[in-house]
Symmetry: C2
Subunit: 614 residues, 2 copies
């Protein structure tokens, strides 16, 4: 009797970041990357034709180059160990290096918001001066000379840091004592040619994505916008793994901080270049992000933040010299960090509240920013309170741990309507579908519920026409191989549905608890702000149908896009908004979900789908 | 007829600093170093026995190794081009590298002063706290937790920079939330173990010498003191050559700044180690120096300062993070730079006035700090004015350009009394004489005048018994070779006298002009403060006899030692003294000597010696 043994399992390690995973022999390195959470680009969906998923084998055995690889890669590349991750199959323990150029970059990095940035009272102003030149009879220091030439200031208080003074002494002569002074309060932070405008950069430092905008500091007008993946992904997909990396690796704090600073500084260079202005014209930078990201950016200790009782080093607003944060702007420019509320409710949440004007809401309003971590804000005008919760919703809505999940990139299915005929599918950029992103997953789930393909517990009806038995489990065929951009079937499996339930259950539990703790019925809610990239494309009706959101019969919904970035931009150009941000941070009470009575039960309840409504 | 040609002359270049000089063939490299102003150590006075004057021949020809060199240097050293400067004689153009270890370091670096540092209101205070630990019910940020635990502060205004916050989060847990907080105003600049004292460092950043003291910030008590040569000497003996070096060499500003920062940081380490305290306990640093030195230290542009109309970048007091100045102290510690008066009258002068309390003088007082640059301060209580001048007295009183001149180091003749018998000579540390330092030069000059060896124009009386014909000119034999530590005659030449005349002429012209411009007769001066190392050992009577000083018949003289360092120390421990320093800087009118009517004539007059008075 011959009994087949299970196939051998090998270890794959990805560099940089030392992310490891275990896979069966003959699994592709692309599978391994997906399992390890490395966002490898794969335009063709893993059929070896796009050449995007190049990796370098550091050591270990993989299968011989395929015909596709021989066609796409040069002999030299193959010699250097370069392979296509989708083609190379593991034959033993393998160590692989992932070049940055092979990471997904084409994904939708939302920088837009429907929030209008109002012109404000910027923290930096420009003052044009025309100064007398130094002479034998007038050998005042450069700083005194400039101070005397500034009108409308307390000359006694005018000062400058070393980089500002250096630029003053050098450039004042270059501009023949006729120039524009950048003043941050009473501090001279830079010198510009006469008439030059001053700009600022707002940054939303997300765990996964970084969004940034360049703004005219006088008018508040957006001049340019851009985004990048957070390069710290190489050291952990979520904040917890990144903090673990820092705690376990001496110098890890510097590594992670450096990686994100480098990307931010490049973004600053790109945006100013786009707009044709110099880095010296960037007079202020405003950053928002969750508390852990801010700590990782500023190289603050994360051990206390990562372990109970999760105390942050600092939550209040702070001003750091751009130079000390690795950003090259006007010599004395500051980075303003908005205040956070708690270890798990950060400055990005405050910025969202600020941009949505939830702090000025005249009635009962909710703000929801759905992401890997979902923050919910509740305000009740009459009772004068601000409350927030944070839910660990996980990365399912980012497409992670979903069999055909992907982030919102070209080819991602973002909305779905099932009919008796073929499904009506909309992909980002209208190219052949290669996966499903968050909003698409909610649509599919809602449709599967409507058609009774799944029941309210999320179980597939095995006898349903639309259900088939897949490799391991029951599944729904969304796009057949011949129509998909990957040339493979795109399916939704039982496990996918379970992952979606976990994510939406966490959000729903947060919503139920924040309302219940305040004694507010959903009927009393007058306004629901949905922020964030996922929220922008979310079909609200389907969100309610899946139970992600309860029914808010009297509420107006506003999907505001990247409100965190908008809040950062608003605080960039207005000191008044910074005051409001401080007030929000001080006034908001953070409700700790996990210690709320019966939290687990509520979470379990939240995972269920609403009863039959069709 | 054979006529002898003059011997060939070759160029010697010293690195680092590219200092060059021309010498006749067979001159020693030690002679060259002296001519070039390189302070090469030479304990044996150049007879090849002490081995201190090691240099490295980069290129060019010198004489073969002497027997002494073969004894002192290893074969390996000789192979690497290492030679004794006193033994190697030039045979052509030579380039030489001088290791730092071969520079004079044993010289007298005055850190003492008779000025008592009064206990003050230090800019940094310590606050002991015992804080509740973070818990599930109390997850405030570390900064908020500490702010709430500080008594007697405006908690709203408490803040900290990144390095301070980093230390707080790490060390608060290490000390179990029971520690001492260092507060600079409302800024948390560091965390110390419970009960630790806080100290500060005062620095007098001289062109030639750096003097530093470590002080208890609470009591004002000096804990330790030390000094070093200013390493920038390698790039120019005087400030003008150093500024020229910076202007001519891209990156020269960084090089010079780095060199002095490194020495200061080492001094800080040495002084704290001496006292058995940690660098973290150094909570404040106060620096004085001439305006150019401050610019070179802070890496500020020097071109405007080096060229007419000599405008400084900044003259007002400033606070710079110690970290940004290359000094490792408490994480958020500041370096306070005292204000200066003008391009040539710097913070060291203000500190001297402050330490001598000249700003509070109840009558007419003078303050004189004699050095390579001599500053003079005049105050008239009734007329409520402060006046200062700066004289380019040159380095003769430092022993430079004097045939047997040397700085105040062991073996330097510091006082001389000539009698009909042998001269009575006192050397520093009472070791055999190897040269003459400034105070000795004044004594000798006064004695030579008294004995009519030189006349009031400074000319040697060729017929005088004490005058002999030297190699090139007439000279006075001070110490014969058999009594000198160098085994060579120590002589005072006609050229030496001329150099002394130039130096004292500049100082005297400054004194005459500052008094005349104010309409004050020397008889009206009630007090004369003599500051600085040279001034400490100066025989006042001889200073008057040589005409360096006029006769002040009604004045009390106070030789206060290193008053600049004392002023820095006083400002280190007292905010009140910083206010006084600002007032001095603002109130003092700087009189530009070179534009004063008949300056050259007065200078020439000042060079003369007073008529026969013996």
């Amino acid at each position: 009797m011959v009994k087949s043994n299970p196939p051998p399992v090998y270890r794959v390690e990805f560099q940089p970041g030392a992310k490891k995973c275990l896979l069966a022999i003959n699994s592709s390195l692309l599978d391994a990357a997906q399992q390890a959470g490395i966002p490898l680009a794969s335009g063709c969906g893993g059929v070896g034709t796009c050449g995007q998923c190049r990796v370098i084998i550091i050591e270990g055995n993989v299968s011989d180059p395929s015909e596709n690889e021989k066609e796409i890669l040069s002999a030299g590349e193959l010699d250097r160990g370069i392979r296509l991750a989708c083609q190379a199959r593991i034959q033993g323990d393998v160590a692989v290096r992932v070049p940055v150029s092979s990471l997904i970059t084409g994904q939708r990095l939302q920088t837009e918001s429907d929030v209008k940035i109002t012109k404000g009272d910027p923290p930096v102003r420009t003052v044009a001066v025309h100064l007398p030149k130094p002479g034998r009879e007038d050998s005042r220091s450069d700083l005194s000379r400039l101070a005397a030439g500034l009108t409308g200031v307390d000359q006694e208080k005018i000062h400058a840091g070393l980089p500002g003074i250096r630029q003053l002494s050098t450039m004042a002569r270059e501009y023949n004592w006729n120039f524009t002074t950048l003043l941050h309060g009473n501090e001279i932070i830079g010198i510009l040619p006469p008439g030059a405008k001053h700009a600022g950069m707002a940054i939303d430092l997300g765990t996964t994505k970084i969004a940034a905008g360049l703004y005219d500091l006088s008018s508040g007008e957006q001049l340019a916008a851009g985004g990048e993946l957070n390069p710290q992904i190489a050291y952990g997909e979520d904040i917890i793994s990144r903090m673990a990396y820092v705690i376990q690796h001496p110098g890890g704090d510097k590594t992670l901080s450096h990686s994100v600073r480098e990307v931010l500084d490049t973004l600053l260079g790109d945006l100013t270049a786009q707009e044709g202005i110099s880095r010296d014209q960037v007079a202020e930078i405003c950053v928002v992000g969750n508390t852990a990201m801010i700590h990782l950016f500023l190289e603050l200790p994360v051990r206390p933040l990562a372990t109970s009782p999760f105390a942050a080093s600092i939550l209040s607003a702070m001003d750091v010299k751009a130079q000390d944060a690795g950003l090259t702007a006007a010599p004395g420019a500051y980075v303003h960090i908005l205040p956070g509320i708690g270890g798990f409710v950060g400055a990005d949440h405050v910025a969202m509240v600020l941009a949505s004007h939830l702090d000025h809401s005249p009635h009962i309003s909710l703000g929801i920013d759905i992401g890997t971590n979902t923050e919910i804000f509740l305000t009740h005008k009459e009772r004068n309170f601000f409350q927030s919760v944070s839910c660990a919703s996980g990365p399912a809505f980012e497409g992670v741990h979903i069999s055909c999940g992907m982030r919102a990139a070209p080819g991602a299915i973002e909305s779905v309507k099932l009919s008796s005929l073929d499904p009506v599918i909309k992909t980002i950029d209208n190219v052949p579908a290669v996966g499903v992103c968050g909003s698409g997953l909610i649509d599919i789930t809602a449709e599967l519920l409507r058609l009774h393909v799944i029941d309210h517990r999320g179980r597939f009806d095995r006898d349903h026409d639309l259900v088939r038995k897949g490799n391991k489990e029951f599944e729904f065929l969304l796009v057949p191989a011949d129509l998909s951009g990957t040339k493979r079937d795109l399916v939704i499996t039982q496990e996918d549905i379970n992952q979606i339930q976990l994510a939406k259950g966490a959000v729903r539990a947060g919503l139920d608890i924040i309302l219940e703790s305040a004694g507010i019925e959903p009927t009393a809610v007058k306004e629901v702000i949905i922020a964030g990239a996922f929220g922008t494309f979310l079909n609200i009706q389907n969100a309610v149908r899946t139970g992600l959101l309860p029914v808010f019969p009297n509420a107006i919904f506003r999907q505001v896009g990247n409100a965190a970035l908008a809040g950062a931009a608003q605080s960039l150009v207005s000191k008044q908004f910074r005051k409001r941000a401080r007030k929000i941070a001080e006034k908001t009470h953070h409700l700790e979900l996990t210690t709320y009575p019966d939290f687990s039960l509520r979470f379990a309840y939240g995972m269920l789908f609403p009863g039959d409504e069709s």
